[in-house]
């Protein structure tokens, strides 16, 4: 079972690099923000899979919740900054 989760985790890590392409080269700011948000979601799942592998799922659930929360607020703050950035 552990190898199964290991393979899934590595697969997700590879997928992160595909999304990273959008972050670096993506046209426009909105593509970048959406891509960063997607990377955050993938990282959350990777943290949970690490928790299963290390048999400490109770700890890693806490960490992943904080990660999801800060990801949400960060995306929201960036979007807000872009919304009112033009006014000055």
């Amino acid at each position: 079972m552990n190898t199964f989760f290991l393979v899934i985790g590595i697969g997700l890590c590879v997928l992160v690099f595909f999304v990273l392409y959008r972050v670096v080269f993506g046209p426009g700011v909105f593509n970048r923000i959406a891509a960063i948000s997607a990377i955050g979601t993938k990282t959350l799942v990777i943290i949970l899979i690490m928790g299963i592998i290390y048999n400490r799922i109770d700890m890693f659930v806490d960490i992943s919740m904080v990660y999801a929360l800060l990801n949400f607020i960060g995306t929201l703050a960036a979007a807000k900054y872009l919304e009112i950035g033009g006014e000055k």
């Binding site: 046209p27 426009g28 700011v29 909105f30 109770d58």
Partner: protein
């Protein structure tokens, strides 16, 4: 000569009489106005007292409901049932429910919360099935070599009334692959759909009916409209 004098005297006496009548009417009117004003003030005072009592009761109910929910959440998180941790959880939930009682339960009609929760839980399996089905459809769209997508923005006026039901509908639309809620303005949803079939599914309005069933809201006729999306995509392609 005497006749004219007499007429003048009669005239002036009539004028005096009329003045007196006018003054009497004015006094009467002002008296009526005063009494009605005092009555309005009294009514307002009573209404304020009533509203104050009602709002105090509503605040108490909100605090209690928030406290119960937050304490349950604390127990689920903590998983420790000894006295020390339960006391800590009690104090923490009490403090937070007193601080944020008007956040969790705003615009909720009192009395139907239980039924709403039961109906919401029954709505979830249908939503998950819908997500499952449209996942396969979007995967087919993306993987087929011709890529038969037809992106469009649908605008429809919803029949839902409260903001919480709007949010539930909007998030259900966003969770379903292929459709994303862009904005809600005065009850009008702006939804981006990936293909015609997805948009037609949305326009059929089954999801909206089910959300209306959760929150017990009435039926309305709603207009549907498809916007021309090409200029927006042109802007997005150029980048900002």
């Amino acid at each position: 000569m005497e006749v004219t004098l007499l007429i003048e005297a009669m005239d002036s006496s009539f004028r005096l009489l009329e003045d007196a009548k006018n003054q009497a009417v004015d006094i009467m009117n002002s008296a009526v106005r005063l009494t009605s004003e005092t009555r309005i003030i009294e009514e307002k005072k009573l209404a304020n007292i009533f509203k104050g009592a009602q709002s105090r009761r509503a605040v108490l109910q909100n605090v209690m409901a928030t406290f119960v929910i937050l304490f349950g959440f604390w127990v689920v998180l903590s998983g420790k049932f000894d006295l020390f941790h339960l006391t800590l959880g009690f104090i923490c939930s009490l403090v937070i429910s007193m601080l944020t009682h008007n956040l969790l339960f705003a615009n909720v009609r009192v009395g139907d919360i239980k039924l709403t929760i039961i109906r919401f839980v029954r709505y979830l399996p249908w939503l998950i099935y819908q997500i499952f089905v449209s996942n396969f459809y979007v995967a087919y769209l993306v993987l087929s070599p011709k890529m038969p997508i037809n992106p469009q923005i649908i605008r429809f006026k919803t029949k839902l009334e409260s903001d919480i039901s709007w949010v539930v509908l909007a998030n259900s639309i966003t969770l379903t692959p292929g459709t994303i809620t862009m904005d809600i303005k005065d009850g009008e949803f702006y939804v981006h759909a990936l293909a015609k079939k997805v948009a037609d599914d949305l326009n059929a309005g089954e999801m909206e009916d089910r959300v209306a069933h959760i929150f017990m809201e009435a039926d309305h006729i709603y207009v549907q409209d498809v916007l021309d999306v090409s200029p927006i995509f042109g802007v997005l392609r150029k980048g900002i």
